[in-house]
């Protein structure tokens, strides 16, 4: 039998609350932790102060021309002077009120959704109405509004248009493809599987090349495709495959009992899918769907490779102005911030959505 020696009592800790205790616990608990903390602070020290100095302390915020940028830091006047290009692209200045009206209507729509409108059907009708009105406003050509050709669309407005159209149209197409993939008709299933696996195996840039170069060849001479329309078709078809995969994941989470119960009460295929299965599948799939839409928003930058002038392309265009030379860095930092703000905002929204739907499932 072993004899145990009592170790000497350890002294009670000097405190269990307070800053010192927190520091000891979280930052300096072991020697290796202490080393890592010091390294961490050092890295922060090399990165943050120079950046803050460039972007804020030495920067010039007010002024009129290039000559006013004296500080040696960032020249934010440049961003202010070119703000129209960044936001609206080459849209004619006299017609900018149309874009601003469309944006205002969108904000109004969101507020209406939250407080005024109830019920899925009215929301759907209101949303579709808004889409039509926004399209008329932006494109023009009817009701006395001057037509603005799509090669004048650019900047953040073009990014939002591409992302919005991509999201709105890829969603129903993706649902149909997901249903097709889950169906037990072999032809439909193989067509859908081939489509999804093909699209997911190739990079988006090749799909965009295909839609911008090859798509015009598919149709007789007379039909011309607007450059933006080609890009939209490519992006929508691409996104639809990813949406289909996500919804398929949602469909797989639904137990067979639901299908059987729907059959037992005599629902047809479409009634079953739309009334019973799809709502449950969407509830599970929504966080992943928002993730896919964030990716779509980031992927809209690829349209600059096929010659459209989205927000990212605007950096190079604004920097090419001879009266503002050497301002590329400011442009890139500004655009980076906008993209980051949008995507981070959407991912926080997705987190809150996830929490909201999670409690419902319990």
């Amino acid at each position: 039998m072993a004899i145990f020696e009592l170790k000497a009592e350890r002294e009670a800790p000097s405190s269990t609350k307070g800053v010192i205790h927190w520091l000891k616990d979280n930052l300096f608990s072991t020697p290796s932790n202490a080393v890592m903390t010091i390294l961490g602070f050092y890295i922060l020290y090399i990165i943050i102060p120079p950046f803050v100095q460039w972007a804020y302390t030495d920067a010039t915020f007010v002024g009129e021309t290039r000559a006013d940028c004296t500080g040696g830091g960032a020249c934010w006047i440049f961003v202010g002077a070119k703000m129209d290009l960044f936001m609206y692209g080459f849209y004619p200045k006299v017609e900018l009120w149309r874009l601003q009206t469309a944006l205002g209507l969108f904000v109004a729509l969101i507020i209406a959704f939250k407080y005024l409108l109830k019920g899925g059907k009215t929301k759907f009708i209101a949303f579709s109405l808004y889409l039509i009105v926004a399209f008329i406003l932006i494109n023009g050509g009817v009701l006395g509004l001057e037509n603005v050709p799509t090669d004048k669309w650019g900047g953040l407005m073009l990014t939002v248009v591409v992302a919005a159209v991509g999201i709105i149209f890829s969603f129903p197409i993706g649902i149909i493809i997901a249903f097709g993939r889950a169906s037990n008709l072999p032809i439909i299933r193989s067509v859908c599987v081939t489509y999804v696996e093909f699209i997911r195996g190739v990079p988006l840039i090749t799909i965009l090349f295909m839609s911008s170069v090859i798509l015009p060849l598919f149709f007789p001479e007379g039909i011309t495709f607007d450059k933006l329309l080609r890009a939209l078709i490519g992006i929508t078809l691409f996104q639809a495959a990813y949406v289909a995969e996500i919804i398929r994941g949602g469909l797989q989470s639904i137990s067979r009992g639901q299908y059987e119960a729907a059959d037992a009460i005599g629902l047809s295929y479409w009634q079953k899918m739309l009334l019973v299965i799809l709502p449950q599948a969407l509830k599970v799939a929504i966080p992943n769907l928002v993730g896919a839409f964030i990716s779509l928003f980031q992927d809209t930058t690829l349209v600059l490779i096929i010659g459209l002038f989205d927000l990212l392309a605007m950096v190079r265009i604004t920097a090419a102005d001879s009266t503002w030379l050497g301002m590329e860095t400011e442009g890139y930092v500004f655009v980076t911030f906008i993209f980051w703000a949008f995507c981070y905002g959407m991912s926080r929204y997705s987190n809150s959505l996830e929490k909201q739907f999670n409690t419902e499932l319990k």
């Binding site: 979280n26 930052l27 608990s29 932790n33 890592m36 903390t37 961490g40 602070f41 890295i43 922060l44 037990n184 008709l185 072999p186 032809i187 439909i188 067509v191 093909f198 997911r200 195996g201 190739v202 990079p203 988006l204 840039i205 090749t206 090349f209 295909m210 170069v213 090859i214 015009p216 060849l217 598919f218 149709f219 007789p220 001479e221 295929y269 964030i294 980031q298 992927d299 930058t301 690829l302 600059l304 490779i305 990212l312 950096v315 590329e328 860095t329 890139y332 655009v335 980076t336 993209f339 980051w340 995507c343 981070y344 991912s347």
Partner: protein
Amino acid sequence: MMRALRNQKVRGILFQILTIIGLVAFLWYIGTNTMNNIEQRGIKTGFEFLNSTAGFGIDEAPIAYTETDTHGRVFWVGLTNTLIIGFVGIIFATILGLLIGVLRLSNNWLVSKMAATYIDIFRNIPILLQILFWYNVVLKMLPVPKKSLEFAGDIFLNNRGLYLPQPDLNSTTIAVLVSLGLAIVSIFFINRWSNKRQEETGEDFPLFFVSMGLLISLPIIAYFIGGANFNFDLPALKGFNFKGGKSISPEFLSLTFALVIYTATFIAEAVRSGIEAVTKGQKEAAASIGLTEYQALKLVVLPQAIRIAIPPTINQYLNLIKNSSLATAIGYPEIVTVFSGTSLNQVGQAIEIIAMTMLVYLTISLVVSAILNWFNHKMKIKER
């Protein structure tokens, strides 16, 4: 007739037949239009263009390439460059992603917050923007060749690229490379042998130290056997630029940095979800049977975490390879840039060229999917 239509099976078959007819009609419509359009625009068809001279130069060709080479050769040059970027990117992204993922879970508040901030920042900036940022902002800040940054006397960094000494392909180099390969293969077999021995007799084997020893000592021995002389081709400043040595272009550097940093965020998230998915009970059980924290990590947590972390990681590898196609924006000559870009502009046969490019990527993703399926299959057997 109506009664037949009400039968679901009949409806199903009818629907499928309609789909086939619709698809065939659509393809026929597209096909005839394409044929007409191609004839009208004078675009050739077929793959003979692969044998015609390309007539343009490529800056970085890992396999020998001159302007008089054919478009077929351009295809292979582009493909090699894509694979090189993929290989280098995957290795560094995995290392960085693993590091950040583990740091994210550290109990050091500062370190875990920094890792979380890193992930939050770089996950939300589009990859194309990151590539352009590295290329147009960071690399432009490097000095001109005359004022290059120097490392270890023979390595130079300037805005034309990174210049390294290049060893000659002589007996020393070959000996060292062969010995490295031998070391890796022998480590693999020693691993299997030591695992078997441990299961049979319970004796532990210092695998890590033995492997490290082999990896270091075998090449050193080979170095001396091979002649102890790498015969380095050193980069030297001649006129306005460096000649000699191995040069790594700024395009390659910026593409690699951007891809690695971007993909590492997703790998870090996968690693984190893998480790977090191992229930707390496992760690507590490991502690209760007296394993140290390192042993618990190595024997209990990581094997289970890897099972969950690897499928999304392999997915990210595929994404990295697909994202490398964005090199078009900065001119790194991988397959989309040179083949679907320059060759397409010269030859005009869009359908053949883009089809070939897509086939390349489809093959790569098929291979990766096969690896993923093999991995899932292997993991399934181990579970009950």
